[in-house]
Amino acid sequence: MTFWRTMIGGGLLTGAAHAAPGIGLQTPVTSVAHEIYDLHNLLVIIATTIFVGVLVAMFYAIVKHRKSAGHEAKHFHENTTVEVIWTVIPLLILVGMAWPATRAVLHQKQTRGEDMTIKITGYQWKWRYDYLDAGMGFMSNLGTPRDAIYKTGTKGEHYLLEVDQPLVVPTGKRIRLLLTANDVIHAWWVPALGVKQDAIPGFVRDAWFKVDKPGIYRGQCAELCGRDHAFMPIVVDARSPADYEKWVAQKQKTLAASADDPNKTWTLKDLVARGETVYQQNCAACHQPNGQGIPGTFPPLAGSPIATKNRAAHLDIVINGSRRNPAMAAWGKVLNDTEIAAVITYERNAFGNNTGDVVQPKDIKAARGGKA
């Protein structure tokens, strides 16, 4: 019963509720995306023409040259002239296609001449945007709540294509992207911008776009990067240069205000509250929101010896990662001292682990120092 309700409810009803699905490339908003869009249209016309030509010839033979229609075979089996013709003509068609195709590649690869530069870093499973000119940066996490993914019926219009902090860019400016990754290969893809570029750990690649129309453009990671590959969307919010400047000024203020003072001493309550946010953004994907993990794959934190007893081991595994299980990343490279202190405090006091332990940012600093 549940099965059928899920299938029918999830598939057909939600299907009817949203806009008609597209069957072509998304509406382009950059010159590169436009060029790709037009090129693709041209290719589809050529391909369809060839396909129809082949089918018409074949089905003519199928209808007219049937044995049941009394047709007797004519025994020819080679003809140099036609064979040369159908080798040369496709070659000429390809040469014709190669011309606009080459232009598009060269246009796409012309990444310099930028007005501003943004560094994009792929993490399992989120993006980080650093505005190199404005000297600020932030993480961009999936905005869809986990409940909407695991339970049906609560999905908003931009399900899986929404983030907490979008990449805000000015219109009319040539923006150069520098892409890299922290762990495995990701790919930053926004179809309307015509940009898809792999983010490769240890290397920097570049791409560019210039969008003229203000608007929200959505995309996703396009390279399998592990468990939550489907859950690291990209949202680009293009605003007029004036609005963009306003946003930068405000963002700089908010980031400064929320910047953590590593020497501050926190109360248990504040640490747990902060830690819960950090946990949901970084840890819940594997260890689950309730800390139960996934049996056989991701260990539980509820009642685990590390999260209830051995405090030093807890600090070590969060900062440096697991030596036995490569799925447990070294978060010391990603989170600051306050965030790590908060999340460890949270883990030692949530899920029924009520240890009462408090880990302060200075403890993390000390633990890092011990390693270095």
């Binding site: 496709p90 390809l94 598009a104 495995v184 792999d198 390279e223 489907a230």
Partner: protein
Amino acid sequence: MAIADTAGHAPHTGKPTGLGRWLFATNHKDIGSLYLWFSFIMFLTGGVMALAIRLELFSPGLQFWQPELFNQLVTLHGLIMIFGAIMPAFNGLANWMLPLMIGAPDMAFARMNNWSFWLLPPAALLLLLSFFVPGGAAASGWTMYAPLSTQMGMGMDMTIFAIHILGVSSIMGAINIIVTVLNLRAPGLTLMKMPMFAWASLITAYLIIAVMPVLAGAVTMVLTDRHFGTHFFNAAGGGDPVMYQHVFWFFGHPEVYIMALPAFGIISQVIPTFSRKRLFGYTSMVYATASIAILSFMVWAHHMFTTGMPATAQLFFMYATMLIAVPTGVKVFNWVATMWQGSLTFETPMLFAIGFICLFTIGGLSGVILSVAAVDTQLQDTYYVVAHFHYVLVAGALFSLFSAVYYWFPKMTGRMYSERLGKLHFWWSMVWFNVTFFPMHFLGLAGMPRRIPDYALQFTDFNSLATIGAFCFGLGQLIVLYNLLISLRRGPPAVEHPWEGAQTLEWRIPTPAPYHSFVEAPEVDADDNGVIHAVRGGTHH
């Protein structure tokens, strides 16, 4: 040979019996049957995984599998279909039919033949059992890109070991095919007269020998990166993750043709038979096959257009890839020209061959669209690519295999399959294949990435449709299973010459094919594509 016989070793005429017949098999027909049944079981296994994938994708949200299990299913579906189903199936057909088509007594290395088959079941077992080890099976996609593949649990190690074994098996099978075709042809059957299926198998075998060691090297480097402290693919130690992709696709692209060329060979036998006409342009078919094989070594980086190669490299690989359309086009045109002015009938093998031409052409043309580097930027790693390679591998490789099995079934077994069920199987597969995979083009164009267990709402309709299509397509494969099983036992005896237009050597021997055929080499008066005008000598037991 003659001396050995007079020394008292009369040739064995009886079949060995019991389990030993299969375990210690050296007869090419027995080993061919083992290969074919093994690949069919793997086809069903991989198919069940495909249905599990489609089940999760029927509607948005996660209903059935956790994302990591979904990724494992995606990975193993690919590996099992490629290495467990398609490659062994073509090897099984080559085993069964090549000696009969070229007048050889058996494959050249009968004992190695046994070994190359019996390596497969342990490898398949390793892959399947890896689901049950801590951390589960490999979840990196069949491409196993580093450094994602260095993150996995021991399921990845089992997969790497399985790939080593499968590679050894493929290489031995390939050596056997090369030596058999080059050395054991009947007098009179010169290279430029032998059937296209023999040509395709020969060229494919060279591709296998060239690239399987490359794959073995790639996965071995992953293995040492995982356990022995090397940094081939780790930038922090001076390595490069993109180098893995270069090595992998240097194997991976020829691999595509390893799965496509034998299909071309089969179609080039079936179309002339049911057109009652010789293959059009035999010589250009041979050259086209060879040029596709050679070009396949020069196009690998078209799988990597989004890694950020310099413009010149993008352009080189784009031009080289586009070039493949020329020989492929020649093949399609030649098949249509073979049908032109023929005397066509539409038995099941012919239906699958015609279906192959229609759908493979779609897969080929979407390949040309993907070859254009700028357009590929939008389509790479989307459902468009999923649609493209399933048009090539399901409607291409799989349909050609069905065509071949129906075509040669009477010769192999001495019984006829049910034509009615065969036709039902074709039309059912044809309809549901397109319902499943055609909408995936739209999904990819609209922006749905591949290898995701959950998707945004605008992709719902086509995903639901594809899932319905996939389940119907999967169900339809029980028709062929039932047809083969029932016909093996109760099918009407096949007549000596079931296909009026068939002119190659295998149709000159008794039906069913004797256990030891061509114990003495026949002398043949042959023509293009293995057409036989006369046979002298050649005895069977």
